[in-house]
Symmetry: C2
Subunit: 164 residues, 2 copies
DNA sequence: GAGATGGGACAGCCATATTGACGTATATAG
DNA sequence: CTATATACGTCAATATGGCTGTCCCATCTC
């Protein structure tokens, strides 16, 4: 294969692939998150509420500080969301057993029902995308996304599975 | 392989894979977009400005209505961002040649320089993720994301390449 | 000339994030 | 036991980036 000469800069040649990834990630993310907005709006809730519900559902008895790390927002921002969700009885709290300063967060029955309903829209979209792309693609999808996440955060994300 | 019985519901069994995708997409997207916030903040710009710069860079002589479709926001929201970028001379406009009501959007030299600088951060992150995941994974990454984007929007996204 | 379209603008609103300071309960180290 | 750190909450003020509704002008198209 007598290819004349290698590219001057691999980074430059890959620019189009990079931009393609950036754009697909933007539109894919947007479309997925948009898919639950209507459901949230009927309840007067926003995406911030959903994120809290989602992670608490995923990892019951999560503490406030753990949730703060996952969401990467300030205590004040989370506070409003959490207060609202507790008032509406989607979430309930208990003091921690080892450390009674902690508040363990957990969905109520209606909170779990709401999360499940919202998740249905996510599942439909994601399942359709998985099916269309094929299982081999799904692994690649995960791997690239993992590469976008700093190493120190990956354990946190993985913890949603094991540590829950 | 005498596996006893198939799962009651394939959707249920796949729930974990779906959630994994949702979570990686959330954290991956967040980390990528966060990576340019510092650069934007030093200039007093926000992500909305970057999105406009990005798409105009990608498709010079884009019209306002085309940009509106890409960003999926209202004219008013875009107006503020665009006005600011024009005032700061990152963007310039010309009337359309066929339709003089149109405004064709284009980066100035300093706008192009800014976009390139911001893109550098995106490129580094994305290139590292691609490299770590391997080229086979990149295709899968694209395919799944394409599956998340409604068919009617895909041509618009593809147009960033051909129609630019 | 009539109506549709591309673009812009005003006023006001809302959701979600921020910072900084401060307070209280509990845990833990000396 | 005291000191300090931690977990959580809260006040006040602010910024960003969306939204709606209404109205406007220029231009294109029929």
């Amino acid at each position: 294969m007598a290819v004349p000469s290698p590219p001057a800069s691999p980074l430059f040649l890959r620019e189009d692939e990079i931009r393609r990834g950036v754009e697909l990630l933007y539109f894919g993310y947007s479309n997925l998150t948009n898919s639950i907005d209507a459901g949230l709006a009927t309840l007067g809730l926003g995406r911030a509420h959903h994120r809290a519900l989602y992670f608490i559902s995923r990892q019951p008895d999560l503490t406030v500080s753990e949730l703060l790390k996952l969401l990467a927002i300030t205590k004040q921002s989370l506070g409003r969301v959490l207060t609202e969700l507790i008032e509406r009885e989607y979430i309930e709290t208990r003091p921690g057993q080892r450390d009674r300063r902690q508040k363990l967060l957990r969905l109520t029955a209606s909170g779990a029902a709401l999360e499940a309903e919202l998740f249905r829209a996510l599942r439909e979209k994601m399942a359709a995308a998985y099916a269309q792309a094929g299982q081999g693609s799904v692994t690649g999808f995960w791997r690239v996304l993992e590469g976008l996440i700093p190493v120190e955060d990956l354990s946190m994300v993985a913890g949603l599975r094991s540590g829950g």
